[in-house]
Subunit: 204 residues, 2 copies
């Protein structure tokens, strides 16, 4: 049961979420966008994308667990940066399950968890520049992974690649820390491209 | 002191190393290539590149430690694949020091250790196809790192990038396991390109 402080926080966040939705809709009037409180949003969604700081990861999952639909796909883009506990954004924490995405699969054992989108700079996804980044998609659920690859491939500049089992998410999460280090050192918005695979490995 | 079995092994390996050197020289007659036993080769070298399976990593370092020149640069391309201990080549071992390259720095505290070249497929470096791979170079010795970046940038198709401190080698080593998984799944010779950095971040 949420206590009074949590209820107050939820009420105060709701208008800003609705404002954020309006901001997204402004340049794309046809877009279906709405802002809502996490539990309500998850209860209504068949695809949930987690793009949260790692310090809120486990708590959020426990919050949405009772309401998330059993046939939902949960896409986890969370990276356990050491910055979550006062360390550096160029380093990661060791996660007992192997990765943040595998922690998600442990907390939500009934849903299909897909790891993806860790390596795209949020600034670029928000339209600040061209996206030049492959999205490697890892999951133990082949159908869910394919749905997410199809979704990712619709982002201009993105190629989606099957990265195998969810356990490989640990490497995708590490790569983000490397890219953050490159961004700091070289002042850029770095991403990765995978070279040397046959054409059918991309966007299929 | 090497025992009789080790002495026999050394003698038996030496001709094949000299044959390998001749094989490399065949298409590039001007190349200076020679094959030699590890300790002798290291004693004569100002730059040593380790491209060995991880199971032989610590033992080799201890073997060459007494003879390696204190002003030498040691470039470590070793990846601690779980295959080294009977596991999968798509998984890595946890290394106490953080990475194979950091283990090298611990065993050889007096030399400059540089982590690089983990992510280029050996087949491509051997001339089996075009190299399309950025080489991220990590070291705590800025001068040694720059020398290795200059060397890497001379390989056609390679762009060398400063990846910061040696501790980041752990991420480069993980990436190799991911690429091996992609090669198995998609039948390719995968590599990585880093996008989104300013021009001066490459080959400088």
């Amino acid at each position: 049961m949420p206590n009074e402080r949590e209820r107050r926080q939820k009420r105060s966040r709701l208008p800003s979420r609705r404002e954020a939705a309006e901001k997204i809709k402004a340049p794309i009037p046809d877009a279906q966008v709405s802002g809502d409180e996490n539990s309500a949003a998850c209860a209504a969604a068949d695809l949930v994308v987690l793009t949260i700081p790692f310090e809120g990861h486990a708590a959020l999952l426990k919050q949405i667990k009772p309401v998330i639909r059993p046939d939902a796909i949960v896409v986890d883009a969370t990276v356990p940066l050491a910055a979550s506990v006062g360390g550096r954004a160029t380093r990661t924490l060791g996660i007992w399950q192997g990765s943040a995405a595998q922690e998600t699969a442990e907390i939500l054992p009934k849903v299909a968890v897909v790891a993806a989108f860790q390596n795209i700079a949020a600034d670029l996804l928000n339209g600040d520049g061209p996206v030049e980044c492959d999205v490697i998609v890892c999951s133990d659920d082949a159908n869910a992974a394919q749905s997410v690859r199809m979704l990712a491939a619709r982002i201009p500049g993105v190629r989606a690649i099957d990265g195998g089992k969810l356990e490989n998410a640990r490497i995708l999460e590490q790569i983000t820390a490397l890219l953050i280090g490159l961004n700091i050192r070289h002042k850029g918005h770095s991403g990765i491209r995978i070279t040397g695979l046959p054409d059918q490995a991309y966007n299929s």
